[in-house]
């Protein structure tokens, strides 16, 4: 992603470099607009008299000369602003600038004496020292007032510093509050010193001198306040940038040194300028005015390079894997700084700014995203300070970004594809914030670069010139990519997060409802990715200028054809998704559809695979499913029946059932699967020779078979122990004769009884329902 941004930025730069050159505008503008008007064809046939008159005019040499002159006048500006001319002009400017510098530096030994002479001429003897005395007094007053303020504000400040907020908002408020306290102190310092300064009347030159010094000190302190706010060298908990203590302190030192050199150089240059004006020695001081800022700039650059090297070295020591990359970054940064310095020296201000912004863009994105990370990380951590300090140090040690002109590789968790887990409640928010920060920075960089080159951000994109079109295209593409990245990252993170929540299904356990999401989410993610990619590529193509109408139409036709061809397939997929959403079945459940039944073994995107309890495997496309019965949800009730003689003691039966129920519930194998214990329902119905006693229990699906088996067994044993016999099928043959029956007759009677029994037995058997 980031290299892509860089590429685009370079494209953009190319566009911008060309943009301010009038050439392109001229080529695109007047040529296209004026030429047609000059060569416009008359819409009506020309009058012969008019043509004759025209010929006469053309033959007149004066008219021809006049026309030629006009033509040259029209063409002249076009020639004058060709690219080559422009470059040579710039080269001449640079040459002049370099010559000035060289001539200034050749007089470098005269510079101090020139300044001293001007000083002596402009300032009364002793006034300088007196001015310095005044400055000291004012600074002391400002400092004293600030110290006083700090004594009173200290408890508040400490409370802000040591109360780590648990919530993000609280942390942010704390950080802002701390900064506000610090800035108030600075304001009091400024007010005290400047106020004391205003109490006195001053001679003109001394006044300038004093106020320049005061402004220098105050600016320096302001820079210091910002650096403190960002780097917080003494307080790891308040640090916005994830740096270790040592490196934060080192960075602070370097930045402050660089700031001092820069501010002091500017002050000195300004002072020399006004000294020259006030004493009418501007010419004499011209060399000094050139030399001082150049020296300051060189020192400034040297400090930056040194900081670059120093901060890098400590990191590459920490982790050797990054050292190669670090070294490249060090070299890149150093080259950057030197290039900017050289550009500044030759006076190419717009290029300087462009370089600085482009150079800073990537590190700034990195740094800000590290800041966001750090911020969230600290908000998440509710541990004590020491641990926090340690983690912050670690974050610094593993490498991270730092502010200002330096770049850094991201901390381990900074990348957009960082693994997310439950411990990071802000993971999605954090990523989205980082994306927004990135978009904001890129847009700001574009706007600033355009502004530096003297171009309106909006007017340029509206202009019909080539540069304008290039610019508009680049911005369109860039913004599309950034937004797509934002959407994609957000969706992907959200989906991955949900997926990560679903651990693998434990062996032997039926998968829960998450299995269905685990099936759906990757499909959804893929679908989303395709959508985003297609939309982005179409948008990019259309902003580049390619007509996407035919593409869309073609895609539409293809879509329809495929749709017709794969109607059944589509129906299967779609109804499958809806079955999944309905949570109608899951893997491992026992279901029945129309005349098929079995355990769900697997689901594909199109079909369902069910294994019958006898081993047969059914594959059913989702589209074929009309209705579906699931036997594995929540609970099942199992009813048992016993036939006992009419003289059975029902109370005893009830007691026995209750005891057996308790026994079953206490069973370690399936006791917990019993939802309601075994209980007697009393006599369910009366039959010819016996009564039917109903017994039922409620259990979890799948456990009922085992429980039923044991229940039968235990009940039978218990009944037997208590003398209750199960009713036997018997046929009572009443013989009315008093005399014993002869053998044949008895045989015939028992034969008839047997027949009666068999007739009963011939009734249809119930279908076995156990898998």
């Amino acid at each position: 992603m980031v290299p892509a941004i860089r590429c685009l930025a370079f494209l953009l730069l190319a566009g911008l470099v060309m943009a301010p050159h009038p050439t392109i505008a001229q080529v695109g503008g007047p040529m296209l607009q004026t030429t047609p008007s000059r060569t416009a064809q008359p819409t009506e046939a020309a009058d012969p008299a008019e043509l004759r008159e025209f010929l006469r005019l053309l033959s007149d040499p004066r008219i021809v000369a006049e026309l030629r002159q006009q033509l040259e006048a029209v063409e002249a500006p076009d020639k004058g602003v060709s690219m080559r001319m422009h470059i040579s002009e710039a080269a001449a400017r640079i040459e002049a600038r370099v010559n000035t510098l060289i001539s200034s530096f050749s007089k470098i030994e005269e510079v101090p004496s020139a300044i001293i002479r001007a000083w002596i001429a402009g300032v009364k003897p002793g006034d300088g020292l007196r001015g310095l005395t005044y400055v000291l007094v004012f600074l002391f007053i400002g400092g004293g007032l600030e110290w006083l303020y700090r004594q009173y504000a200290r408890s508040l400040q400490l409370r802000l510093a040591y109360n780590h907020g648990d919530t993000l908002g609280r942390r942010f408020a704390n950080a802002l509050g701390g900064a506000a306290l610090h800035l108030t102190g600075l304001a009091i310092f400024t007010g005290g010193s400047i106020g004391a300064f205003l109490l006195f009347r001053w001679p003109e030159l001394t006044r300038e001198f004093v106020i320049n010094l005061l402004i220098t000190v105050i600016t320096f302190r302001l820079v210091g306040a910002v650096v403190r706010f960002v780097l917080a060298p003494g307080m790891p908990a308040l640090r916005l940038v994830p740096l270790g203590n040592v490196r934060a302190r080192r960075a602070t030192r370097y930045v402050m040194l660089a700031a001092f050199v820069g501010i002091f150089g500017m002050m000195l240059t300004d002072s020399i300028a006004w000294l020259g004006e006030a004493t009418n020695r501007a010419a004499e001081l011209a060399a000094a005015r050139e030399v001082v800022p150049v020296i300051a700039a060189i020192v400034f650059a040297v400090i930056l390079v040194a900081m670059n090297l120093r901060l890098r070295r400590s990191r590459s020591r920490a982790s050797s894997t990054r050292s190669a990359r670090d070294r490249t970054m060090v070299i890149l940064n150093t080259v950057m700084i030197l290039v900017v310095l050289v550009l500044w020296l030759v006076g190419a201000r717009a290029l300087v700014w462009t370089m600085i912004i482009l150079g800073l863009l990537y590190p700034a994105i990195r740094a800000l995203s590290a800041v966001v990370d750090n911020f969230y990380k600290q908000a998440e951590a509710t541990t004590e300070e020491d641990r926090q300090a340690q983690s912050s140090t670690e974050a610094g040690a593993t490498g991270s970004a730092m502010s200002m002109a330096e770049d850094a590789p991201p901390p381990a968790a900074a990348g957009g594809d960082a693994p997310v887990n439950e411990a990071e409640p802000f993971a999605i928010q954090r990523l989205v914030v980082k994306r927004f920060v990135r978009i904001g920075l890129v847009l700001a960089a574009i706007a600033v670069i355009a502004w530096v080159w003297g171009l309106g951000f909006l007017s340029l994109s509206g202009s019909p010139s080539t540069a304008g079109r290039l610019f508009r295209t680049a911005v369109n593409v860039l913004v599309t990519l950034l937004i797509a990245d934002l959407v994609w990252t957000w969706a992907k993170t959200a989906i991955d997060r949900r997926l990560a929540d679903y651990g693998p299904v434990a062996d032997g356990m039926a998968p829960g409802p998450e299995a269905r999401m685990a099936t759906l989410l990757p499909i959804f993610r893929m679908f989303l990715m395709i959508t985003v990619v297609v939309i982005v590529s179409l948008t990019v193509l259309s902003s580049i200028g390619i007509d996407i109408g035919p593409l869309l139409a073609g895609a539409g036709v293809a879509g329809i054809a495929i749709g017709f061809g794969a109607q059944a397939l589509v129906r299967d997929v779609v109804s499958g998704i809806f079955y999944l959403l309905d949570d109608a079945f899951r893997v491992g459940e026992y279901i029945e559809m129309e005349n098929l039944r079995g355990t769900v073994e697997s689901m594909s995107i199109r079909s369902l695979r069910v294994r019958h309890h006898l081993g047969a495997v059914h594959t059913i496309p989702f589209g074929e499913l009309k209705s579906l019965t699931n036997y594995s949800r929540d609970w099942v009730i199992m009813k048992l029946e016993f036939r006992v003689p009419f003289d059975t003691d029902l109370k005893l039966v009830k007691k026995i059932v209750k005891e057996v129920g308790k026994e079953l519930q206490a069973h370690e194998g399936y006791g917990q699967h019993l939802i309601q214990p075994l209980k007697s329902q009393g006599v369910r119905r009366m039959e010819e020779f016996n009564m039917v006693i109903g017994v039922k229990f409620m259990a979890r699906p799948g456990a009922q078979w085992l429980i039923r088996r044991d229940a039968y067994q235990k009940l039978r044993d218990a009944f037997e122990k208590n003398g209750i016999n199960f009713a036997q099928r018997n046929v009572k043959v009443e013989v009315s004769s008093e005399t014993p029956l002869p053998d044949e007759v008895r045989r015939a009677v028992s034969g008839a009884a047997q027949e009666a029994i068999e007739k009963r037995d011939a009734q249809p058997q119930p279908v076995p329902d156990e898998p």
Binding site: L145, L158, Y162
Partner: protein, 367 residues
């Protein structure tokens, strides 16, 4: 004893400086008033007894300060201590010209100075000297205030009084500086008649006196520089002689190796282990207490001052003050008994309850 003496002499000098600044502040009204009020504020020190006393206090303070530098094992100190050390080194060279020009000139050469004359001298004749005066005043006051507040911080009543004292500590030097500026403008404008004392007849002439004063001034400055140099060299020699290393491990921190002779607190500072120390390593506050968990060699004896402080907290055996415990080689494992951030954590809580911090610190449990 040395510490108490340092505070006492410091207080004497501070009292003198305060009186002097109040006197100068009167220059906001007029230099005349400033001069007239001089006997009231400066009279006590102007005579032989007061002058000698003050000079003795000053030299004692300087020597004790140098001794303290000699005793330091590391120059990596807290911010306030750093300011104190640097300002003390700068102060004397800044002070000597003023001291010689006024006290010595008046005492030994009968050349008393007056405020208008000095102001004109500082502002008109030698603006560089005027600059030096302002620097001297600012640095001396900062040095004095830090010293004073470090001492006062441990007094039980200080918390209640402090908010009232702080404005005074700022107002006094600010007023004095403004008076100095205002007086300078007044004398420069020529409205005030400035008279210089003449050397008494029969003695050496003015120029000769000036030359002698110059000699005295440079002698004093070089003496001080030599004293500082000797102190630093002696310190370096002492540190070099400290052979052997100690491996120190704080519970929950990385172990580090430090040279012997340092105190535990100093070694912790050098190795960036945060440590509470309210009195700045003077053995008074007891906030740097540590429990020694393991030591491969017998620890140095507990000094009397350390004993006193430890008794105050009814510390058990094995508890020592990190600022007094000198490393003596071998391995040492210790545990901080107070949170390194206790200053912050407790100050806020106590400020609300208005309780004395010391009591609380004593009772705060282990980290």
């Amino acid at each position: 004893m040395a510490r108490r003496l340092r505070i006492i002499t410091g207080l004497i000098i501070f009292a003198f400086v305060t009186g002097h600044l109040i006197n100068i502040s009167l220059g906001l009204w007029s230099t005349g008033l400033m001069e007239r009020a001089r006997p009231i504020f400066m009279g006590l020190w102007g005579n032989w007894v007061g002058g000698t006393f003050l000079a003795l206090a000053l030299s004692t303070h300087v020597i004790l300060g140098l001794l303290a530098i000699y005793r330091r094992n590391t120059l990596q100190v807290s911010r306030e201590d750093g300011i104190q050390i640097i300002s003390s080194l700068v102060l004397l060279p800044l002070l000597v010209p003023h001291f010689v020009g006024t006290a010595i000139a008046a005492g030994f050469f009968s050349l008393p100075q007056n405020y208008p004359g000095l102001l004109l001298y500082f502002w008109q004749t030698y603006p560089g000297e005027g600059l030096r005066q302002v620097l001297l005043m600012a640095i001396a006051w900062i040095h004095g205030c830090i010293g004073l507040f470090t001492w006062l911080k441990l007094q039980p009543w200080w918390r209640r009084v402090a908010p009232l004292v702080y404005p005074l500590a700022v107002a006094l030097p600010v007023l004095a500086m403004l008076a100095y500026v205002e007086g300078g403008k007044e004398v420069m404008s020529g409205q005030v008649e400035v008279t210089y004392a003449q050397p008494p007849a029969g003695g050496p002439g003015f120029d000769e006196i000036l030359a002698r004063l110059e000699t005295v001034k440079w002698t004093l400055i070089w003496l001080f520089v030599a004293g500082v140099a000797v102190t630093l060299i002696a310190r370096a020699w002492r540190l070099l002689r400290n052979e052997g290393l100690t491996r120190v491990k704080y519970v929950g921190q990385e172990a580090y190796i430090a040279g012997n002779g340092m105190t535990l607190l100093e070694s912790a500072r050098v190795n960036e282990i945060p440590h509470a120390s309210k009195c700045g390593g003077r053995g008074r506050c007891g906030t740097c207490r540590v429990r020694v968990l393991d030591s491969s060699r017998p620890l140095p004896e507990i000094s009397e001052a350390e004993h006193e402080t430890l008794d105050r907290f009814e510390a058990e055996t094995g508890v020592r003050l990190a600022c007094q415990l000198k490393l003596a080689g071998g391995r040492l494992e210790v545990e901080r008994l107070l949170s390194p951030h206790l200053v912050a954590a407790n100050l806020t809580a106590e400020a609300e309850r208005g309780e004395h911090p010391d009591r609380k610190i004593a009772k705060t449990g282990a980290v």
